[in-house]
Amino acid sequence: MKLRINGTWTTLGEEIQTVGELMEHFSLEQKSVVVEQNEEILANGNRDSRVLKDGDIIEIVHFVGGG
């Protein structure tokens, strides 16, 4: 399936079907990140079970230093 992740189109293997599996793929499951799927912010509770579909626009953000 093809997803646009943080602005870049990426093709992922069949084994990745949910946001949780996507997090594992990028080793982000322990990180404090916020995920947006097609402009909808996913709440932490139901984030990982959320099903991905071809063409989804995914944004993965976190806190960085700023003033």
Partner: protein, 255 residues
């Protein structure tokens, strides 16, 4: 005691977390500054490369109140999106509204700032808008229900100190919510000056992070903010044109 909405803080210094030379220096600077509020910003994660060490992952987030800013937003709608992304982390419910309207001066867009403040207040956020030192705009933001007003002393990162102390004084005198001077502070003297005028707090970043010795400067800022506040509370003497002797003029011993 600094009170913002329903939270109280002993420290009147809000510290930014950008542009430190390294993480160790930053941690020490945060520590000696005595700050209880740290600002952050939301950015895309670089998922394709090994992640750089991140201060937030090493912080005791119970010990600090996190204040995400909306830096990077140019419209009210973008600012609201940034704020919601930050809030979704579950780490904060305050937000510093920062909507830049000019790339060269990094001065805030007053119209979008006002709009974003209103939208975020309606969403239930504790809202601290970064604004110019415009007295009427500060009033309009307070009328909307902003929980603090954060006028800039001078452009972000310029270190020029307070360009218009009179405007700052007017804003402080009219406000019923905390006034936190945000941006442009260069030296401990600038911070003390703002506090002596009556500011409730100071938000700074570059003045510490880009100092030759950030840790020492963090301590200097802490002390100058305390000194400035004490001076304000103590009430300074009025200025006079002529001298006024400190020692008694009577009883001078002569031969």
């Amino acid at each position: 005691m600094l009170k913002i909405n329903d939270r109280t803080f002993d420290s009147r210094l809000l510290l930014g977390t950008g542009k430190y030379p390294d993480l160790d220096t930053q941690k020490k600077a945060v520590d000696v500054s005595g700050t209880e509020i740290l600002t952050f910003t939301v950015r895309r994660m670089n998922i394709y490369e090994e992640d750089q060490p991140n201060l937030l992952e090493q912080l005791d987030t119970q010990k600090f109140t996190l204040l995400p800013n909306t830096a990077g937003a140019k419209t009210a709608e973008e600012a609201v999106r940034h704020a919601k992304l930050a809030h979704a982390s579950g780490l904060c419910d305050m937000v510093k509204v920062e909507v830049i309207g000019c790339d060269k001066t990094l001065l805030p867009d007053p119209v979008e700032t006002l709009k974003a403040t209103e939208m975020l207040l309606n969403e239930g956020f504790t809202v601290l808008p970064y604004t110019s030192d415009d007295v009427v705009l500060a009033k309009r933001l307070e009328d909307l229900g902003a929980h603090a007003i954060m006028p800039g002393a001078s452009p972000i990162g310029s270190g020029k100190g307070i360009l218009n102390p009179d405007n700052l004084r007017f804003i402080i005198e009219q406000s019923h919510v905390p006034v936190i001077v945000d941006a442009g502070i260069g030296s401990p003297g600038d911070a003390a000056e703002a506090m002596e005028i009556g500011a409730d707090g100071i938000l700074l970043n570059t003045a510490v992070s880009a100092a030759e010795d950030p840790v020492k400067m963090a301590e200097a800022m802490k002390l100058s903010i305390q000194a400035g506040r004490l001076g304000y509370e103590a009430g300074r003497i009025p200025e006079k044109r002529y001298a006024s002797a400190s020692s008694p003029e009577e009883g001078v011993s002569t031969t």
